[in-house]
């Protein structure tokens, strides 16, 4: 059980789905040098007044998800997200309550709420558990809402256990059992993990780390020695160049469209479209089982239905959503809202259209499809259009000639995403569609065996983003205050060091004395 408590928050918080959570991570203060010191990380919980939260159950298709909160602000979070008045619920008692966004007051889900006041909790701190519905949209919304409560931040890997351990909640034998897990954070193992991650990626990070070390050494040499020594202003010009290069390279690397992460956590493919277009039939066809209820009644699917698939060796999380239409039914309205949210978060949208409603003239059909695309993908940015496949369903009901006309005609229209004509009834065109789908998924994951190395973990992404921000600090202070500029490079190295291993002052001095003749 400790195992799950430690491991799952990592995959959940860092998993590909929860971009919102990662955004919160990004805005946190950049940690400093000493955070890196190996022991320091373990003890981070000690003086940390932060309240932490994480998804403590698995992600993907699950009925119930458990979100755990620990720390002094847990009660605040409970009060402002659960309608309890000013009262806290009785300790350790499950209550069924609506969970709302603390700012918009929008109801996010209805679920069980448990309150564990300190010291009688897993961590020994005030703790709260939300047992909510397992859909990623709900989880994301709850995590995002928690992140917006002041004093709260997503938990680091193993942090709940660490706090439990520090509070004396685990005895020595249990601690020994934990040893290996905590051990996984040691420098050596981190380096090893890095090496295993992918030779090329490891080399890339090591290369950055090496260059950053040298860059820092040169700034430090300029600060500590230039007044007495032959260290010319030219040294700083070189530093400027390498800071700029590093920043560009890391930014470029971050713009990989999350390919590596997708490969780890699955590509999110969403089936969307008007009611009765055959979305649920497509899901069932792809899953080869009746995962979703199919009926001729418009608006059958009201919530998100998920299914995990393997497409050409790549993991895919397929979601079927409610048909998009204005409905007076409150439940359906919510379903439509969720569907739209899903489309926004999707890596790839399969826009399903009933081919029988299309005008027979191809130009008119194209215009209608474009209009439809715009309305479904409305809030997505321009690049979103590239992440869409048009699936024209029910081709078995079309005359042969019309089918051919659409097939050939629509391919020539620019601005339209790839078009596939299929029939979920007869499976006609399915094979071609799968080929197109597979190649799209493959492009999104990137080929792990070739090409530029890709980011595989959201944790790495967060550290690299800190790194880029810190390099910007160098440029900001370069001319006014070199001590603050150097601080930027130090922070950048610290952030990168969280992936590649710690860098100490002695190592920097070694480089200084190797590169410069210091003869004071």
């Amino acid at each position: 059980m400790y195992y799950s408590a430690i491991m799952l928050p990592v995959s959940a918080v860092c998993g590909g789905i929860y971009r919102a959570t990662i955004r919160t991570l990004r805005t946190r203060n950049i940690p400093l040098n000493h955070r890196l010191s190996s022991g320091g990380r373990v003890l981070a919980g000690l003086a940390d007044a932060d309240t932490i939260f994480a998804l403590s159950s698995g992600h993907g298709r699950c009925g119930v998800a458990v979100v755990r909160i620990s720390g002094s602000a847990a009660a605040t979070a409970l009060r402002c997200m659960v309608g309890l008045g000013n009262q806290l619920p009785p300790p350790r008692t499950a209550l069924l309550r609506s969970i709302t966004d603390p700012h918009s007051k929008e109801v996010l889900d209805r679920g069980l709420v448990l309150w564990f006041p300190a010291p009688h909790s897993f961590t020994g701190e005030d703790s709260v558990e939300f047992h909510i519905h397992g859909g990623p949209a709900v989880i994301t919304a709850v995590l995002q809402a928690l992140g917006s409560v002041p004093g709260m931040r997503p938990a680091d890997a193993g942090e709940f256990t660490r706090r439990a351990f520090h509070a004396g909640k685990l005895d020595l034998t249990e601690v020994e059992g934990l040893g290996d897990l905590i051990h996984a954070e040691t420098e050596a193992q981190r380096r090893q993990a890095l090496r295993q991650m992918s030779g090329e990626l490891g080399r890339l990070y090591q290369n950055w780390s090496h260059r950053l070390k040298r860059t820092l050494a040169h700034v430090e040499a300029f600060i500590d020695f230039s007044e007495d020594e032959l260290i010319e202003e030219g040294v700083l010009d070189q530093v400027d160049i390498s800071v700029c290069d590093l920043q560009t390279e890391i930014e470029q690397h971050l713009k990989d469209e999350r390919r590596g992460e997708r490969l780890r956590s699955g590509v999110h493919v969403v089936i969307a479209g008007a009611t009765n277009a055959g979305k649920s039939s497509l899901l069932n066809t792809l899953c080869q089982r009746p995962a979703a209820i199919v009926s001729p009644i418009a608006g059958t699917t009201r919530d998100v239905v998920e299914s995990a698939l393997d497409i050409g060796g790549f993991p895919v999380l397929l979601s079927d959503t409610a048909g998009l239409r204005d409905s007076p039914d409150l439940v359906e309205q919510e379903g439509v809202r969720r569907a739209r949210e899903r489309v926004q978060q999707a890596d790839l949208t399969l826009l399903v259209v009933d081919s029988t409603i299309l005008p027979s003239e191809e130009q008119e059909a194209a215009a209608l499809l474009l209009e439809h695309l715009r309305s479904v993908l409305s809030s997505q940015d321009q690049s979103g259009a590239g992440r869409c496949l048009l699936v024209l369903n029910k081709t078995d009901l079309l005359p042969e000639a019309q089918r051919e006309k659409l097939n050939l005609g629509l391919r020539r229209v620019s601005g339209l995403p790839p078009v596939c004509l299929i029939s979920c009834q007869t499976n006609e065109g399915l094979k071609d569609f799968l080929t197109v789908l597979q190649s799209s998924v493959k492009t999104m994951c990137g080929d792990p065996l070739s090409g530029a190395p890709t980011l595989t973990q959201a944790r790495h992404r967060a550290h690299l983003q800190h790194c880029v921000a810190a390099l910007a600090q160098y440029r900001r202070y370069r001319d006014s205050d070199l001590a603050l500029a150097a601080e930027g490079v130090r922070l950048a190295l610290t952030s990168l060091g969280r992936i590649t291993g710690r860098v100490g002052a002695e190592e920097i001095l070694d480089i200084i004395f190797k590169d410069f003749c210091i003869g004071k």
Binding site: N29, N33, G39, L230, L482, A483
Partner: protein, 685 residues
């Protein structure tokens, strides 16, 4: 506040006569603290111990050489200047001595930001010595004795404290009565098994012109106390006759027009701005490299493998490591009236005739004459990981070490350790708990922590890059960081403390006044038309935010808001610096707190790491046993420690402590004859 500068120094020679007594004439045979050595570490140690309130005796071979600058005639620099400021903030001597003796002041790194400004001065050797001697000889509770220490008196430990031995005093070489003390501070510099090298000859000694120290001391440390020692080397350049140097061929390097004093108590230096002497800069030529290569076989110092400092190498190592380049040589004045020049960067150990040949390869030195040849020194140092953060030898109660004996180099590093060892030696003698300085609050803390938790492999010198929290540990705020603390420890006078409190209050009030000045950026733009602001229109900015801008000074703000800001004009520069660094330091604060909490968690010194019932690898046990970190924080900085080990260690200490406090509480309650629960029951609801 330049009272010190206007006061007349007592006539040193006559005082010296009075105190230069024999041991038999000493007024007492027992002191609280004995300090051995009269260099930068020893003088600060003795003065600090006396300030704290201990009856102190300083024993030195020659009273004449107390406060001598054995090597370069300068004080401060980048990183080192920070240390001088901190020693001064703790009421030490070297900052005020530097202001008294300085003849060329400059702030290095002026353009690189106040956090790394390096206060530096060329010194008049004579004046520096005068000041230090006069200061020591007029310090209450401090006696100075000329003599050579033959041995340390060691006895069984006090069982109530950790340690295998206890130091009880010293015996002098002339066979007189032993002198006893609760604490002894050894600051023997390069004299511990020191050897001097010139060319192929070597002779025992720690400095040219002084007798070698007795071998008894080394023996006690090594054999009786079982301390691990290592060997280091250093060197000094030849001193040149000024008249023989053609300074017109070197580049003139003038000092700052307005000298910046080291000490917080001084607003000006003794040397008037216009009286300052310049330095000169010149370069080595290919001829220098040739002479070095040709004379290698005549140079046994350079062939030895004792470790020398990488950043203060001899000219031999410079040209050998970086051949084909020209290297800088600074020609520095030795004093206002001195007829010597100090060629910084030309430390060398070849035979004197070769030294002459070498320097004459440098254009301004074509006809130079050598007054005293350069020489090398090799000496023993005690591996400093055997010390506690109070600089006390862990296995010997009452024995403190400071300065080069701990493997450091430099006057400032020595002075800082001396002061710290002196304070702690006195506190021990007066039965007060040891004092601690964190690396989050001072360079002295960084220095001590680096030494005792990591040890040294080459002579250790301070650099600003060693301080993790460089942007908060600035020369300008050393008084705020340390003076109040020093007062609590007893080493800071009430007058200085009072002034520091006034400064702190004024700065706090000024910052509050600045923060209270809030306006939209549009209004600010109207008030300060010359300032370009990138912020968007609706933003509200405080005076503190504005002061962060490069071209906004406190003077500008004070001219716009004279009623609330003009009272703080004397702090205009400090406020500007505060404003620039404050956002960064606020960010650092939680990190600093965390480190301090780890440092507050002490590890018992008598732990047997090999049998500790905690999950630790054999490798980690060996590291812990070898370095014996005093705090959990120090343990985290040991190389080879794993987070798992730290966590387990933490757990062990935490539980032990908790169990002990519970037991104590239980005992306490038993004494009172009360049942704990009954007491609870009677509490009002």
């Amino acid at each position: 506040m330049s009272h010190m500068l206007t006061k007349k120094l007592p006539p040193v020679q006559s005082v010296l006569f009075l105190v230069s007594r024999r041991a038999s004439q000493l007024s007492r045979q027992r002191y609280d603290v004995i300090v051995v050595g009269g260099g930068h570490a020893g003088t600060e140690a003795a003065a600090a111990a006396a300030r704290v309130g201990a009856e102190t005796l300083l024993v030195t071979q020659k009273i004449q050489t107390i406060g001598a600058l054995s090597c370069n005639p300068s004080l401060g620099g980048v990183g080192k200047g920070h240390l001088v400021r901190e020693v001064d903030a703790l009421d030490g001597l070297c900052g005020r001595a530097g202001d008294w003796a300085g003849i060329n002041f400059s702030v290095l790194n002026r353009s690189k930001g106040p956090a790394v400004w390096g206060l530096r001065a060329q010194l008049d050797r004579q004046r520096y010595r005068e000041f230090i001697q006069a200061e020591l000889l007029s310090t209450p509770r401090l006696k100075v004795l000329e003599g050579s220490v033959e041995e340390l008196l060691v006895s069984d430990p006090n069982p109530a404290e950790p340690g295998h031995h206890r130091v009880t005093g010293i015996r002098l070489a002339n066979g007189s009565q032993p002198i006893s003390a609760s604490s002894v501070v050894l600051t023997t510099g390069t004299f511990l098994s020191g050897s001097l090298f010139v060319g192929r000859t070597s002779s025992p000694g720690g400095r040219i012109g002084d007798a070698p120290s007795s071998s008894g001391l080394t023996q006690t440390l090594r054999d009786q106390l079982g301390l691990r020692v290592g060997r280091l080397r250093t060197g000094t350049p030849p001193r040149l006759l000024k008249d023989s140097v053609d300074l017109s061929l070197a580049k003139l390097h003038p000092p700052d027009r307005q000298p910046t004093p080291f000490s917080f108590t001084n607003t000006q230096t003794r040397c008037k701005p216009e009286e300052q002497l310049p330095c000169y800069l010149t370069y080595t030529t290919p001829g220098v490299e040739r002479v070095v290569r040709e004379s290698l076989h005549l140079n046994c110092h350079i062939q030895q493998d004792a470790k020398g400092p990488r950043y203060c190498p001899s000219i031999e190592s410079r040209v050998l490591r970086f051949p084909g380049r020209s290297h800088q040589v600074w020609l520095e004045p030795e004093g206002l009236t001195s007829d010597l020049l100090y060629p910084q960067g030309l430390s060398m150990t070849m035979p004197p005739d070769v030294q002459l040949r070498l320097i004459r390869e440098i254009p301004p030195l074509h006809r130079a004459e050598i007054h005293t040849p350069g020489y090398g020194v090799q000496y023993d140092y005690v591996c400093p990981t055997q010390l506690s953060p109070a600089l006390q030898v862990k296995n010997t109660q009452g024995l403190f070490l400071a300065g080069q004996i701990n493997g450091t180099t430099g006057y400032e590093e020595a002075a800082a350790q001396g002061l710290w060892a002196g304070v702690n030696a006195a506190r021990r003698a007066l039965s007060q708990p040891p004092a601690a300085l964190s690396r989050t609050e001072s360079y002295i803390g960084v220095l001590v922590d680096d030494l005792v938790s990591r040890g040294v492999t080459e002579p250790y010198r301070m650099f600003t890059s060693r301080a993790e929290f460089r942007t908060s540990l600035r020369p300008d705020n050393a008084d705020l960081r340390l003076t109040m603390k020093g007062f609590e420890l007893g080493c800071v006078s009430a007058v200085r403390h009072h002034e520091a409190v006034r400064v702190r209050c004024s700065l706090q009030n000024a910052i509050a006044a600045l923060q209270a000045l809030t306006m939209s950026s549009t209004s600010w733009r109207k008030k300060l038309p010359g300032i370009s602001m990138s912020e968007n229109k609706s933003q509200t900015l405080s005076g503190m935010d504005l002061l962060e801008y490069k071209d906004v000074s406190f003077e500008i703000l004070a001219s716009v808001f004279p009623e609330c800001l003009s009272p703080y004009m004397e702090f205009s520069q400090r406020l500007k610096i505060e404003a620039v660094y404050k956002p960064h330091n606020d960010q650092n604060r939680s990190e600093i707190k965390r480190i301090q909490s780890e440092e507050n968690m002490s590890l018992p010194q008598d732990i047997d790491y090999f049998t500790l019932p905690v999950s630790l690898s054999q490798e980690v046990r060996e590291i812990l046993d070898r370095f014996r970190p005093t705090t959990l924080g120090a343990a985290t900085r040991l190389q080879g420690m794993t987070p798992a080990a730290i966590a387990n260690l933490f757990n062990y200490v935490h539980f032990t402590r908790r169990r002990e406090s519970r037991r104590k509480q239980a005992d306490h309650e038993e004494e009172r004859g009360e049942e704990p629960c009954r007491r609870n029951a009677s509490l009002p609801q």
